[in-house]
Amino acid sequence: MPKALEMAALVALGAAVGLGANALSPRPAPVRAKVYSVAEASGGACAGPEEAAAPAPRISVAEASALCQSCLAAFVDARGAGEFAQGHVANAVHLPPSGHPDEGAALDELRQRPLVVVYDGDDSCAVADEVAARLRRAGLADVRVLSGAWPAWAAAGAPAAAGACVSCGHAEGHP
């Protein structure tokens, strides 16, 4: 049986090495700050006001639909793959919080439009807010979150399609 003392020594040494390596990392974890989960960071009940990410500006379904039909906005679906496959805004890019397999290409596609609209599946928009914050950190200037989320878009009969995200590698049939 391994000695508990040796295990404890390895863990203690490892923790010290980890903190040292973090300090040297090009993108260190903020050890003096709190790090919230996607849902919490976007205004969830557990997020303190000082740490919560500033929510992205909202855009109504009517305004977003007009921009969609005139091809002036790109759309980002922040929901899971299954929900995306069942139905999404026409030509939306599937970009959940877990990321896109080819994030660089997805971002390049979004940069083709002057405005990016992010939506998720519920009207708290917590997940969409997180993805929007990530897009803004990636340098996209005008990122907004769809008021009422996907249910409002679907209820309004705005342009939609169904099928899995091909570039995500889930299945064929992206419309």
Binding site: V11, L13, A15, A16, A29, C46, S98
Partner: protein
């Protein structure tokens, strides 16, 4: 006769953990975000524990490769793998859509990742049971 396979298993497992830790080092902030998304730790603990976790992976993996306290290193890594499998399982059961944070990539959490962790756990336990085999550090002891 089983000393060579034991040594090979130890070296491969150790190298895998060193690689897994090294892959996370360029983006520790991203790894901390992945850890937070499991929603099992208080937000104030997340960055410290994420950094410590990577360090423990690195040191225990390196110890396993070097044959320095190999049984203790294997036991620590086995415990880590159980923690990883439990954290992944609870996230999947709660329907949380997240990047698993495995190997510093964007791999989505899945039952396949849980299965991989459990398979590695079994191999780590096997390494613990078989002992270090040959090629251990001088004075490391703990040969079976």
């Amino acid at each position: 006769m089983r000393r060579a396979p034991a040594a090979l298993l130890r070296l491969l497992l150790g190298a895998l953990f060193v690689w897994a830790a090294a892959a996370k080092l360029p983006d520790m902030a991203g790894f901390a975000e992945s850890v937070a998304n499991y929603r099992v730790l208080p937000p104030g603990w997340v960055p410290l524990l994420a950094a410590a976790l990577v360090g423990v992976e690195l040191v225990a993996g390196a110890a396993l490769v070097a044959g320095w306290w190999p049984r203790a290193a294997a036991a620590v890594l086995a415990l880590l793998l159980l923690v990883f499998a439990a954290a992944l399982s609870q996230a999947l059961l709660r329907g949380i859509d997240l990047s698993c944070g495995c190997f510093g990539g964007k791999e989505t959490a899945s039952w396949g990742a849980v299965g991989r962790d459990l398979a590695l756990f079994a191999l780590t336990i096997a390494s613990l049971a078989l002992g270090p085999g040959r090629l251990t550090a001088p004075g490391a002891g703990a040969a079976p």
